[in-house]
Subunit: 324 residues, 2 copies
């Protein structure tokens, strides 16, 4: 059994062994740049650890793991264009450093390279794996489209929001661990339990993101507190505040989030008054706990020896109790 | 054996049977719109006809054929963003009709849908097919990158140019017919001969595009004559003119193509003087003939009964002697 740290080392090692740069360099340099920007490599780790639950030798899962990391980074690259983001992981985004056309095309190449890496897998269930990957990849696009749609919607329901994060964030984590499990030889029941485990972890992860934006410890969180409020993002916090507010407050909240002439600090503190009044911190924390419990339950139901579960439980614990 | 016309009907029929629109509609409407814009459907036709060379029942190739059309339309969609094109096949491009973010994301979904369609194929050689598709898809991206690079280059060599069109245009035609052949049960030798046939047809097709831009019959060609000159595009004509010109003329040509304050008509007629002086029409026509001959030779070498080759020979003849 590999620990999470060992798994991360395998991922970094595989990534650095990949020969990415070739002609035309202008296509491949942004890909290398994006992959070198780091991150926790949770998705490839999930592929490898999902596999490791069921067998000791996980080399068959190396390329599929890197494929998932490649795909994830492709979505970040294109999302950054769509969101006009200029910085990612402390470095200029690709469309900032190069240009938008370069970011579009190198992103396209990354999504194809993800399939190229996946196609290195030669197990009997290759077709099943690739179909699951297709479904997952399309889910992520649908989630991103819903997220874009929300920008032009006055009211987003809780269900719409949860569906969006399920597609945009949770699907890829769920797909990663299920792919790993299937490569490892899991039966369909166990593979599906792990899918649900990954999905609820992903939902919890994203809600924590929303929560920490306003209620995180600024020194640990690393980002400016209240960024989502300043940029009028439809988060779980905001959706719950609007849903629970009386009519008068609802109008005030909606007027407030559309304001652009406030000082950021003032906008945040005014919003926080409503969020506190309607206890959205507690409500969100409760929802996070609910998802964490569901994730744990599905994980418990996976029929492998308890000791094999230890490393994944450790990662899950980390993801369930984020401080940043 | 199916005629080209029957094959085109199968393609249209398959395309219209596809249930594309689902939630979120904003993601899928641009896909439907793009696929409905028509075109000759040469790539899916090549998949089906490549298959039909080797067997009568070609239903196994239906989904892969549509996959190739989906992928081709994805590349057009993203290319149109990169080239700032506002019109395609007489209709507003997706980023014009919707917006650039929509075009990026729907394009991403199309490339995944191409894989989804390809993954409907269940033959024993599925992995071989998908790996060939990956390679082809990446070739197209590399070709597009080279084409973008050319915009910032003063001099492009003939070899660089031919490499670019081989990747950007010819690879997809070559890949399409080889995929069809492999689905039809062709051995590797025949499949590779058809790949070369498709490649040289593609090269010829693109050179004819360059040729017709200046020397086509305006009434048949359907586009404004000289568009490539007005937009400073590095075409085979221009590359040969610069290569063959004496030093004085070379400087004049290079100064001319960078000019933006000419009236289009004047710029075209001035460029044409040099193109005529250095016989680039003849030279290009000769290169086209050379590629057509190579395509024919590879096709002749395919070891199937002569009568099975008739429909593809007809299409090839059409592609080799374009007037528009």
């Amino acid at each position: 059994m590999y620990s999470f740290k060992e798994i991360q080392e395998i991922v970094e090692n595989q990534l650095s062994q990949m020969q990415i740069i070739k002609e035309p360099e202008q296509l491949y340099r942004p890909i290398q740049y994006t992959l070198e920007s780091g991150g926790k490599r949770v998705r490839p780790a999930f592929v490898l650890m999902g596999c490791n639950l069921f067998r000791d030798n996980i080399t068959d899962a190396y390329f599929p793991a890197i494929a998932l990391e490649m795909f994830h980074n492709f979505t970040l690259l294109h999302d950054d264009i769509m969101d006009n983001s200029t910085v990612r992981r402390g470095k200029p985004t690709v469309h900032e450093k190069w240009n938008s056309n370069s970011a579009i095309l190198s992103g396209d190449a990354m999504s194809i390279k993800a399939y190229e890496l996946l196609s290195e897998y030669s197990g009997d269930n290759f077709r099943e794996i690739i179909r699951l990957f297709n479904k997952t990849a399309l889910d992520v696009c649908e989630g991103q489209q819903m997220d874009m749609n929300f920008e032009n919607m006055k009211i987003v329901s809780e269900n719409e929001y949860l569906k969006m994060i399920e597609l945009k964030t949770a699907a890829l984590l769920a797909g990663s661990i299920k792919i790993g499990a299937l490569i490892g030889g899991a039966d369909e029941n166990n593979a599906q339990r792990l899918f649900e485990f990954g999905k609820f972890l992903g939902l919890s992860f994203q809600l924590q993101d929303d929560y920490l934006d306003l209620f995180g410890d600024p020194e640990i969180f690393g980002k400016k507190i209240g960024g989502d409020i300043v940029s009028n993002k439809k988060t779980y916090l905001l959706i719950k505040a609007i849903e629970r507010a009386d009519e008068e407050d609802r109008k005030k909240i909606q007027a407030l989030i559309e304001m652009t002439d406030y000082e950021p600090e003032e906008k945040i503190s005014r919003a926080k008054v409503f969020f506190d009044k309607y206890s959205v911190a507690n409500i969100t924390a409760e929802k996070i706990r609910e998802y964490n419990e569901l994730a744990k339950r599905y994980f418990e139901d996976v029929t492998v020896e308890k000791k094999r579960k230890k490393p994944l439980l450790e990662v899950a614990g980390m993801l369930m109790n984020r401080e940043k």
